[in-house]
Amino acid sequence: MLLLITVLLPILCGALLPAFRFKNRRLREGYVLFSVLLTSALVFLCCFTTRGNVTFSFLHFTQKITCSLHLDDLGRVFTCMIAFLWPLASLYAFEYMEHEGRQNSFFAWYTLAFGITLGISMAGDVVTLYLFYELLTLVTLPLVMHGMGKERVAAGLKYLYYSLFGAGLAFAGIMLVLAYGETSAFVPGGVLRGLDESRVPLMRLGYLLVFVGMGVKAAVFPFHGWLVSASAAPTPVTALLHAVAVVKAGVFGLIRLTWFSFGPDLLRDSFAQWIPFALAAFTILYGSVNAVRETHFKRRLVYSTISNLSYILLGTVMLTPRGLEGAMLHMVYHAFMKITLFGVCGTVQIRAGLTEVSQWHGLARRMPLCMALFVPSALAMTGIPPLDGFHSKWTLAMGALETGGPPAVVGCAVLALSAVLTAVYLLVPAFHAFFSVPAGPSPQDRLDPSLQMLLPLSVWTLTTLVLSFSYAAFMPFVSSIVRSVIR
């Protein structure tokens, strides 16, 4: 029951927000922060007071088609990550959105989206997952279109069409699971164990549909177009939704469906493994190369997101224990790094008015704290030890080697090459910010933002550092999830 309340609370609070018609900034911020913090507190309560699997089923249509919420260890990881990030991102958004206006509607949708994302992470069966997945599209659409500028409306429509297309394909695959699976709930190792041999090709095709469908949200090539256009949205949206919540929801949905519905045994060594593998590997390179090519810093980060999401997908479809471990680690690590990078990027954009990479030369003289916060995440993204990005890449590479044969080498090579490209597109601007002399006259003003913006950025950076050095505490938990799935 608590699960349902947790999911419904932010939805309710968000829906009620326009009713209050806040005129006072402080009041609105207090309201939003209160509701978000309360939800997060509830989430942590749910996650840490319970052990094992908790299921709450609240709707029964037929025996198979039910709606239920469910909390297991995998869900805990994702849920806690979301609950940790959301309040801080809201804090960041408060100051940022001063420059955008129409905060009442913005924060209404922003809070709503929190509930929906929690719904995805706690979905107990494929129907609920699909339901919240569709809702997420609709709820985040107004956020992308915020301000209704021409570019944003176009981006929003593109986002809508792509998502509906993806949802259509995913729906087809989910229908197949409903039709032939033992149950619609998520069971570690899959629900298709007793599948008739003759249906195997059909189900593999179904998985491919699901991969492409969910892959649209996870921005797999060639369905990444919407994410690039959607970078026109306000930075808090890009940072939280397009680096963490929405795209990770796609990735999380895929992990769920791969390991808990279709099951690795069905897919292993078939076209349903290798086509997604190839797509993910290709997207990693494609995203990195485009990030190097891109000179607009925010779009560069978006391409980097595209590339990094595919790291996670690659780990998922390796179908090896190490691969899944790496995928989960990277899912969490990447969230913290990327949200910091986007946060810094947005701060630079509104405080200094700089959008292009070439304008970063010597920026550290004007925004020393901001740039100092940028560096650890950039290093971690590149995979420089001992930061956390290195662990996840190492684990992913070991997972790739476990698959054996050419994919192992391809996986490793892609990871290494992409790491070099990451260094080019993230470290080079960072070094220019610190060591280069700015071209032309350089204003000597200090532009570091207020504490309200710096606090979330520092907390995220700190989390990245803590994750880097508390690997030993975190790892057994991840391994236990993997063990439960592999059995």
Binding site: Y162, V292, P385, W394, M398, A416, A419, A472, M475
Partner: protein, 759 residues
Amino acid sequence: MPILLPCLVFLPMLWAPAAYLTGRKSKKARDIVVSAGALVHFALALTLLASVLSTKEAPSFTLDGFCGLGIRFRADGFRALYACVAGLMWSVTGLFNPEYFAHYRNRNRFGFFFLLTLGATCGVFLSDDLYTTFIFFEIMSLTSYPWVAHEETPGALRAAQTYLAVAVIGGMVTLMGLFLLHHALGTLQFEEMRQAARRLADPGSLLLPGVLVLVGFGGKAGMFPLHIWLPKAHPVAPAPASALLSGILTKTGIYGILVLTVYVFRTDTRWGLLILALGCVTMLLGAVLALFSVDLKRTLACSSMSQIGFILIGAACQSLLGEESSLAAQGTILHMLNHSLFKLGLFLCAGTVYMNLHQLNLNDIRGWGRKKPFLAVCFLLPALGISGIPLWSGFLSKSLLHEGLLEYIGLGAEGAGFSSVVEKVFIVTGGLTLTYMTKLFVALFVEKHPTRQKEFDRKTPYLSPVGRLLLLLPALLVTVPGVLPALTARPLSYAALPFMDAVPHDVDYFSLENLLGAFKSVLVALFCYPVVVRGLLMAPDMEKHGKKKAAPRVYVNRWFRRFDMEDTLYRPLIHGLLTGLGLLAQGLDRLLEGLMLPLGLLAGADLARGLDQLLERFLLPAGQSVLTALAKVLDGFTEKALKPAALHLGTFTGRVMDSSVDAMTLGLRRTLFRAKKPRPVPTVGNRLTFAVGSFLDRICAFLNRTVFKRRPIRTRFVSVLAALAEDAEENSRHFARTISFSLLVFALGFLALLFLVLR
């Protein structure tokens, strides 16, 4: 004692922020904190070395779970010795820093990264598995970047960029190699790797991972063909940083190569020959580059490269000789140690020159050292050492390396012929070393500056007493072991042998054979210096003195610019690769747009055609039959009139439905996909249209003047073409927007299809 290991690594790293914060308050206090950090480190390292030497045990320390696999440290003789060398070098440069950096900016930053790098370097030298080595190796690469970039001049930034590129690309290639190595052996711990490699059925499968790992370590060591950063980074880096870069950071690369050689490829001849060949080229190329250079620090940098080549040959011999590699192992250890000290002394001398003159070109600084006997001695002793003159420590290590090489030739095994060529190169390079050191010494301390000599000879204080002490220390440290090898060099090299998996083997350092080798090198130098340096590499200064015969001879740089591998090979290669990948990505984007558009149009067309067919198949026949029935009732005349009318009606309906798709598209275009307001006619357009347009305009103007005088052409092609380009761009944008719509249509169509199939 094990607790000393993490202390040596992490203490300087924790000390670094303290130094930085102190520096914000007081500069003096910062200098003290930084030097104290290095000195404390040195003291701890000495304690460790003493305890290792006295107890003959190798303490180890494991930190489980750190960075995933956990990190392992272990201090046997070799590793404790190198931790000590690191402590010594950092202490000396740390004490030298305040004087050298007196007029620099950003000294806090330098101090911060100075200490961080000390910790990381120690982490590399104390590591007990390649995973740990790699972690600290990467940290060290990044924390030493600010050293190179310290001056923030364009030259420094470019050199730093090269340094970073070699470090990052090399690091990632090494990482890839480590993935494969870990997969092949199941472990990266040194001792376990050795056993796993022995058990392996096919040792050849390790070669690829080995070569990949070699890239990163070789790059750091300055091994050919990855030496490119070395000659660039040293001249622009501050002198204390150069001393450390060349004296000890290159040794971390050597450490990695030694680990591979000793623990993975102990008996693999192919590996040995590979390293031998690379070492030989590095050795010779470095010496030749040093000979041609006219910049004091660049010469020293290239010399480092050459000496690294000597060390690599020693490493190669260990793989080639297998169990009987004692001499080569001793030579390798001693030469590493000696080279660190030589370069410490020489770079500090170079730093003294730069500190006073702010110039490094040999023509500008020549004669500065005259009447400065102290500096001359401090320069001369390491210079003699590095040239391998008997009674200095370089002679011992080079002789041992040489004997190792001769031993392998004596075995007559695979590649012996090649090895004898290497042996000749070894002797010649030894001679070249003496040649370029003589060149430096003569330029600095013997020759006179054509114009500023009086100013140079004035007795002004050029170095503080502390600085003098620091310069004297390495000079003594290379001389004493050379005179008393049995008391100093031998016990140290014996203590370090277990790391190399070799047993002590007594050797007569001053045997006739060794002296003869040194003599041959001296002969080469006696020939090379007058002929090559005085003859080929010096020319009358034509620029300043016209064509007078009496013009003083100056050093000229005769090295070919074309031969710069960085500019002619690596940079174009990387640029080409990036551009190629970028073009590929761009092409794919275009292809995607191109593919999706027809797909979308196809889907739309299908819909329209489907409706049409629906009309034709069902409506028309139905209408026809109804009409026929009617017609049968009515008489023939009406039949003739009605039938064509009905047909026309049907066609008309079809057409209406057909064009409704167009109307829908039009409507969508008016509402959702509304085009932007027409802009004022552009006048410039993009580069291409402007170029073509202005060309056409000029032709028109020409024609107007000549042919069409009466009815001149008034078209402005620039604006016409610009408008066309704008149009095309607008259209492509519109297409791109349609794609997403077509995706939606496709999904709907797909669902319908699925419904039909599954029904």
